[in-house]
């Protein structure tokens, strides 16, 4: 035996350097530059003048107050709606089918302005129910002001809060039933068991609702609400250009609020009493036929409520003529034909931007997840929480940071200014999707415990053979899921898109929907595009459910999720 084939383990310095460069270029430096811009005067010297202007202007102070109120209101409303529903599901151990559980995450993949536009079509003065209920009072959400925004965001994010609440309480539902049989009252079990267990899930769901509402640009604009931070920052950039210090200050205020809220909720999430557990892992309860029917009716009525909410969008997409009547006078498929014929550019743009962002996210998320997995145990939790803190970077703020940092820079070889291309959009999508990608990467790594690779190494497989024959087949499912999640998150990120797209021809489909719905002639096409988008998301989720059911449980619990070095 000779030592000709000696190899020393290769350190992943190259991957780490690329990762650090990406985060530096597309996150740390732009955000740092924006902070400097917010505190600088016209000549670039550090000064606090812009803060004085910001605080002295009642419009901005009101916007700050409105933004926080709307986000807080939406989070509280969603929680208030989700809590009793979760208690009922927990009390009777009603297990929604997997497909319904997944649809709980639909709010992350469908932008809330679609719900706003659908409800306006339905409840507006010329809309179906709006016209019918006109004598009773004004029910057009566009006329409700800030409460309207809160209600719409709350309806939109309710399924997410419900699911996170269920996930954090599911593990002990069975024990609670056994305790109840031993004589503990349900009131006591709910207050002493359900609420403490549910707190982490509730805090997470409420935090996401808060952060997304604070960052939402399209929904307030669709309701005609402009006195909020995101719309004001958008208007200032549109009017005074990207170097406007007040827009920087607004973006910084949004970041500061988001970081504070995320830190508070992280405190609740971290100190939760239990690990989160998907509800379907429990032993199925034995319910009577009556209880089963009642439970089914309960779940169906929630689903029916959402179907009703989105029916405005569906009816608009099919309506030939619809004006001041309960239902459309005629139905056509022309809007779908128009959407497919004229809006393929938007669809292709979405595929390109979101596909690119998702690919980057999967690669970076996997690298970061692996680095975290291999870090010393005392660092692991903090690193994971540090990565999750990226959730608190609003899309509007990141887009403003890009607009201030990248002007003047040109694409290598072609020489086009960076901010005149769509290049920045997938980068922003990618940074925003990273917290989800890292989590998805961690799950993907779990499907490849270290011994599976070590067995291949002992067999004499080359690096390429191991990747092709072992890593990719075993991780394909996890990677696909990670890609789809990142793609979906990017596809609904309208806040970044509205600021970063250089022209309408470069717009992704979500922006096209938004633009179409703002015009009276384009509403049908916009609605058709929205329905098609929701249908694609629903199809993707259904396909995921089918794939999950077919997939045999090949790995046992507790297997090591480490990912060893592959000597190159």
């Amino acid at each position: 035996m000779n030592l000709a084939n000696r190899r020393s383990p290769r350190r992943p310095w190259l991957a780490l350097t690329i990762l650090a460069a990406f985060l530096l270029a597309f996150f740390a430096l732009p955000v740092g530059r924006m902070f400097l811009a917010g505190f600088s005067d016209d000549e670039g010297h550090l000064a606090g003048k812009s803060i004085t202007v910001f605080l002295a202007n009642p419009l901005y102070a009101e916007s700050l107050f409105n933004s926080v109120s709307a986000a807080l209101g939406a989070a509280i409303l969603a929680a208030l709606a989700a809590l009793p529903v979760a208690v009922v599901l927990w009390r009777f151990r009603l297990q929604p089918p997997l497909i319904l559980e997944l649809f709980g995450f639909l709010p992350l993949f469908v932008p809330p302005f679609m719900l706003s536009l659908s409800l306006q079509t339905l409840l507006g003065r010329g809309g179906a129910l709006g016209m019918l209920l006109q004598p009773v009072g004004e029910i057009d959400p566009a006329m409700w002001g800030l409460p309207g925004l809160m209600v719409i965001e709350a309806i939109h994010y309710f399924p997410l809060v419900l699911m996170t609440l269920l996930f954090s309480t599911a593990g002990y539902a069975q024990q609670a039933h056994e305790a109840a049989r031993l004589g503990n009252s349900w009131f006591r079990l709910v207050t002493r068991v359900f609420l403490p267990l549910g707190l982490p899930g509730l805090a997470f769901g409420m935090a996401i609702t808060f952060l997304k509402t604070l960052d939402d640009l399209a929904t307030p604009l669709s309701l005609g609400l402009t006195n909020l931070l995101a719309p004001q920052a958008y208007f200032r950039v549109s009017t005074y250009g990207h170097m406007d210090p007040l827009s920087s200050l607004m973006a910084m205020a949004m970041i500061a609020i988001s970081v504070i809220v995320w830190a508070i909720s992280a405190g609740f999430i971290r100190h939760g009493a239990t690990q989160w557990e998907p509800p379907h892992r429990q032993t199925p309860p034995s319910l009577t036929t009556g209880q089963r029917r009642l439970g089914g009716l309960f779940l169906v009525s929630i689903a029916a409520f959402y179907a009703l909410c989105y029916s405005g969008m569906l009816l608009t997409s099919l309506a030939g003529i619809w004006s001041h009547t309960l239902l459309p006078e005629s139905y056509v498929l022309a809007h779908y034909a128009s959407a497919l014929e004229n809006e393929t550019g938007g669809l292709i743009n979405t595929l390109v931007y979101c596909g690119l962002a998702a690919l980057l996210d999967v690669a970076i998320g996997l690298a970061v997840a692996r680095a975290i997995d291999r870090s010393p145990p005392r660092w692991k939790k903090n690193l994971l929480w540090g990565a999750a803190a990226l959730l608190s970077i609003p899309g509007v703020a990141l887009a403003i940071a890009y607009l201030q940092f990248f002007p003047g820079m040109r694409l290598p070889l072609v020489g086009t200014p960076l901010d005149a291309t769509w290049f920045l959009l997938p980068m922003a999508f990618s940074v925003r999707g990273l917290p989800f990608a890292i989590q998805a990467g961690t799950f993907a790594l779990r499907s490849l415990p270290a011994p599976y690779l070590e067995a291949a190494l002992l067999s004499g497989a080359s690096r390429l053979a191991i990747i092709r024959r072992i890593i990719l087949p075993m991780m394909a499912f996890g990677l696909l899921i990670a890609f789809l999640i990142c793609f979906g998150i990017a596809a609904v990120d309208l806040s970044s898109a509205m600021l970063l797209i250089p022209s309408e021809t470069d717009a992704p489909v979500s922006y096209s929907i938004y633009l179409h719905m703002q015009t009276s002639t384009g509403r049908g096409t916009g609605a058709a595009l929205a329905v098609l988008t929701i249908a694609v998301v629903a199809l993707a989720m259904s396909a995921f459910v089918l794939a999950t059911r077919r997939r045999a449980p090949v790995l046992r619990q507790g297997e090591r999720a480490a990912f060893p070095d592959i000597p190159g």
Binding site: S8, P449, G460, P473, M474
Partner: protein, 362 residues
Amino acid sequence: MASIEIKGISKQYAGRTILSDLSLELQDGECFTLLGPSGCGKTVLLRLIAGFEAPDSGRILIGGDVVADAASGEMLPPDKRSLGMVFQDYAVWPHMTVFDNVAYPLKLAGIAADELKRRALRIIDLVGLAHLDQRLPSQLSGGQQQRVALARALVSEPQILLLDEPLNNLDANLREEMRFEIKALQQKTGVTILYVTHDQEIALGIADRLAVMDEHGRLRQIGTPEEVYEHPVDDFVFRFLGIANFLPVRREADVLHVGNSSERWTGLPPDKPGNILTAGFRPSDVVLSRQGEGLPGTIRRASFLGAQFDYLIEIAGTLIRAALPSHECVARDLLFSEGDSCRISLATVQWFEGQIVAADKV
């Protein structure tokens, strides 16, 4: 086949020393078991031999050739060490059939299709999985998956087979069955086996020689199973190989007494000097009687375990355990109740110098 020489190996993780200056030799063609508590570093040693980790100091030789040398910083990659390895959690690739799993190392080695098929099917047959070669791992039981892992490790005819607690995830019956099969396979193929485990029953049952490792990664004793079981070098080894009873004994003017009592020691005399001694013995070493010679004791707990009775007995303030075959208890009228008096004598005793605190739960 090949020998393994480990010379002065040390390994640290995150500043914590796992192995320190450890040396060990495995002879060509033997089945060697490394027995130690969880977390003592035995799996680390296995991974160092396999080449998944590099030693901080020391050298490893396989068949007389250096495969890892910390001084020169050079290492031979795992696939060049002529090793097979079976992991605790099987690591059978879930997307490949039994045949593909087993044939994969041969395919990588460029073996011709006919030869590949013949060798893969032969080894699948050898581990008792004939006719299951087209199944996916998810269609196999835990024991069958473990056999696939064993077949995959053996198919390349390695000189050395490393087994990392491969039977842990199996139920008791299957574990026993597989233990015999691994031993039979080793005798058929002549491969040198290094088997790592914390289960003393498996270690004693399978090994030609074994080493007992303590929680600090030090080797306490190396020998045949009989040597180590019958003549443990210290109380750690004695405790680790089964339930251990300890009775304190003091010597006063050449007279032996039990503990601090005036009760005289009636058993075998110690082979150790010193005035403070400890007599170590197994529950099965206790010879129980209702009266006559022996140390007087009181039954504190009586448990019927089917094949045997388990008694907890108080002797001069110390609790010990005795295990007697049920049929013997019935035949010799030794069915005691709590509070009954009894007499004990001991078939064999291990003597230790000084006083040993019996930490084992009784």
